[in-house]
């Protein structure tokens, strides 16, 4: 057979088009069979923040398993695309791109520190991927594409400061970590202390690598406060509680903290060092409601060596469930339709109780709990129902300004 130029071109064209079309044909075949809805997950499982991220991943997996066991969403199963961001902001940016562009996921849950959230939020805005941030933080994020399910200072500090003042007295001394979380939280502590007729004697900030707190402990003794408010962060700062106890100050001046016990300080510190420290969060593993008990039981059963199951884990679970409710209500995974469904005042009964999404802020109205460390465990003292994200609400109104995409700094 002679190969004429025309026939050669003809055959090549057929062959090429077959090759190009083949994946599409195969893929549509596969789609009909499986076609999962994809849930992106960006959490640190290693590095300094790994202990915080690990239970979040467990909670996300649990939520997805439960949804799948109940038949999935819209008749389609869920599939998790998880990346370990290794406490590295650069990896956050990189994996966020990958989730948005390559994996084309339908929603992303993740981000732990505020820095990591601000690294990935613009990416999801740009590529129009729905984003859930399930961590407690300083408040102020105002972005229609983003839902923040964790607590903000107005929800916890507002309860913590007056309760601690009622127990201890009106003169407080603030010690906080020297970066945006500590700085902003210290402002909130000052506000709520003054609102309740108290007085701040002094506010000290500590770089994260400070390890010797001797002079601070002397300064606190010289100032003679009734109460210490702590927003210290990280392993090095735990030394404060040790040196405080070593100096025999334990029990002489009560301590209330917005950060202590979020990871696993009560179980790793000696009872003498942690007893009677007061904290307020959106969830405690020790809550005895049936929903909370079964949540903790399921995670512990699947992962017996899970770190402390804190607000981080319960908010992640509730975040995924709220999103699922939104998809069910919208009857679609179209981003705008889901957002509108989520904005319709959706409610989910989770481990922490009733959680509802607030339309103007995209934050949650949720329960807050006050607890005290007793014998290396939290003992829940009080429950405050329906705490509102009043701080973010003071600056953010997505009903009026739906095109906002920034984090406001809340001036006090």
């Amino acid at each position: 057979m002679t190969l004429s130029r025309r026939r050669f071109l003809q055959r090549s064209a057929i062959a090429t088009s077959t090759l190009i079309a083949a994946p599409a044909v195969f893929r549509s075949g596969a789609l009909a069979a499986e076609n999962p809805i994809t849930v992106g997950s960006l959490h640190d499982q290693s590095g300094p923040i790994g202990t915080s991220g690990t239970p979040m991943v467990y909670a996300l997996q649990l939520a997805v398993e439960e949804i799948n066991a109940a038949g999935g969403l819209l008749g389609r199963p869920l599939k998790v695309m998880h990346y370990d961001t290794q406490s590295n902001i650069q990896l956050y940016s990189q994996y966020a791109q990958q989730l948005a562009v390559k994996d084309k996921v339908d929603v992303v849950h993740g981000g732990i520190t505020s820095a990591s959230r601000e690294a990935i939020r613009p990416t999801f805005d740009r590529f129009k991927v729905l984003y859930f941030y399930n961590t407690l933080y300083e408040g102020g994020v105002c972005d229609r594409n983003t839902f923040c399910t964790g607590t903000t200072p107005a929800q916890t500090v507002e309860k913590l400061v007056p309760s601690a003042m009622k127990k201890a007295g009106k003169k407080a001394y603030i010690i906080a970590a020297d970066y945006n979380y500590g700085q902003i939280t210290a402002k909130w502590m000052t506000k709520y202390c003054k609102d309740n007729g108290g007085e701040i004697l002094s506010t000290d900030f500590f770089p994260l690598d400070v390890t010797n707190f001797g002079s601070t402990i002397s300064k606190i003794q010289a100032a003679k406060p009734d109460l210490i408010l702590s927003a210290l962060v990280g392993g090095n700062h735990t030394a404060f509680y040790r040196q405080w106890t070593a100096a025999g100050m334990k029990g002489k001046i009560p301590i209330a903290s917005t950060t202590f016990g979020l990871v696993n300080e009560p179980s790793t510190l000696d009872a003498a060092e942690s007893d009677a420290i007061i904290g307020a969060y959106g969830y405690f593993e020790e809550l005895t409601t049936p929903a909370s008990k079964s949540f903790v039981e399921k995670i512990k059963k699947a992962h017996p060596d899970s770190p402390y199951i804190s607000e981080l884990a319960s908010c992640t679970y509730e975040g995924v469930m709220l999103w699922a409710e939104g998809v069910k209500k919208a009857g679609s995974i179209d981003r705008m339709k889901v957002i509108e469904a989520l904005e319709s005042g959706l409610v989910f009964d989770g481990p922490s109780g009733k959680v509802s999404l607030d339309k103007p802020t995209h934050h949650t109205v949720r329960n807050a709990f006050l607890a005290e460390v007793k014998d290396r465990k939290w003992s829940v003292l009080e429950t405050y129902t329906d705490a509102k994200p009043a701080d973010t609400a003071s600056v953010c109104d997505l009903v009026k300004n739906p095109n906002d995409v920034k984090q406001y700094i809340i001036n006090l």
Binding site: G235, A246, V263
Partner: protein, 288 residues
């Protein structure tokens, strides 16, 4: 009045903990010119050895004073044989290798014990001066710093090992000609430095936040102190530790902890500018 006594104790605490943290580094860097960037991880290993053995039921004093230095000393010995001995005289290579080593140690400890806080209660209690409280542990740290100083001085000045070690550091070729095996001296000096560092980690374990990455908080200050101290191991380290420790504590007391740190680092820069050979390069020449 009482507040000044307390402040003096804070300063003493700052000086003695800094001195303990730096002594091992001064031996390794000052004598052998190996920049051991895994110094912070040796401290961390000492702290972990203490916490883990104490929580396993070993008496806390034995855990701090015997288990920690012994364990880290052995680790140091192994590291010297497997890694450091190929790097004598190669300053930059030794930095790279020990930095990698520090990451490896952090990784191993994280894999075994997880990335969480470890803790051991502080022995000894507090005491009061007037209406102020301080801890006996502060005094104990100062006492241990003094004991360590005496031991190192005694060993280096009065024993045959100290004499041989100093001779080898000064001129390895001449020492070898006189029948000394420099490789062996280097090995034991490195292990000694590691053991002293492990002891510091053990002593600080009850008053520190113990995580696999805790070493990072110490390593910069330790190097600054050793370089600021200059060539003399004891007098140099002691004088630099006294300077930086007291400046830090007094600065933090009268301003804020943030400025306390700034003042220390500024002091270090000025010191190195004025005395490029360190304090002992000018004032304690020829001392130990």
């Amino acid at each position: 009045m009482a507040i000044y006594v307390i402040l003096a104790l804070d300063v003493l605490n700052g000086i003695s903990s800094l001195f303990l943290l730096c002594l091992g580094l001064a031996i390794i860097f000052g004598m052998m010119k190996i920049i051991n960037l895994a110094h912070g991880e040796f401290i961390m290993l000492g702290a972990y050895a203490t916490v883990i053995s104490a929580n396993a039921g070993v008496n806390i004093w034995i855990a701090m004073l015997i288990v920690a230095p012994l364990f880290v000393g052995i680790v140091g010995l192994v590291i010297e044989r497997c890694l450091i001995r190929f790097l004598y005289g190669r300053l930059v290579d030794s930095m790279l290798a020990t930095w990698g080593l520090s990451l490896l140690i952090i990784g191993i400890i994280t894999t075994i014990y997880g990335n969480t806080q470890q803790g051991v209660p502080t022995p000894l209690g507090g005491f009061s001066i007037g209406s102020y409280q301080s801890s006996y542990y502060t005094l104990f740290l100062a006492f241990m710093a003094a004991v360590m100083m005496a031991i190192i001085y005694g060993v280096m000045r009065y024993t045959r090992f100290g004499l041989v070690a100093r001779a080898t550091m000064q001129n390895p070729a001449m020492a070898a000609t006189l029948g000394v095996n420099p490789a062996r001296v280097y090995m034991s000096t490195f292990a000694l430095g590691a053991a002293v560092t492990g002891l510091a980690g053990g002593l600080l374990a009850p008053v520190s936040g113990i995580t696999p990455v805790m070493g990072g908080a110490y390593v910069a200050k330790a190097f600054m102190t050793v370089v600021g101290g200059g060539a003399a191991i004891l007098s140099g380290t002691l004088s630099a530790a006294s300077l930086f420790g007291s400046v830090n504590q007094v600065g933090a007391y009268f301003t804020t902890p943030v400025y306390g740190e700034v003042i220390v680092f500024t002091t270090a820069i000025v010191l190195i500018r004025l005395l490029p050979q360190g304090i002992s390069g000018r004032f304690f020449k020829g001392n130990l």
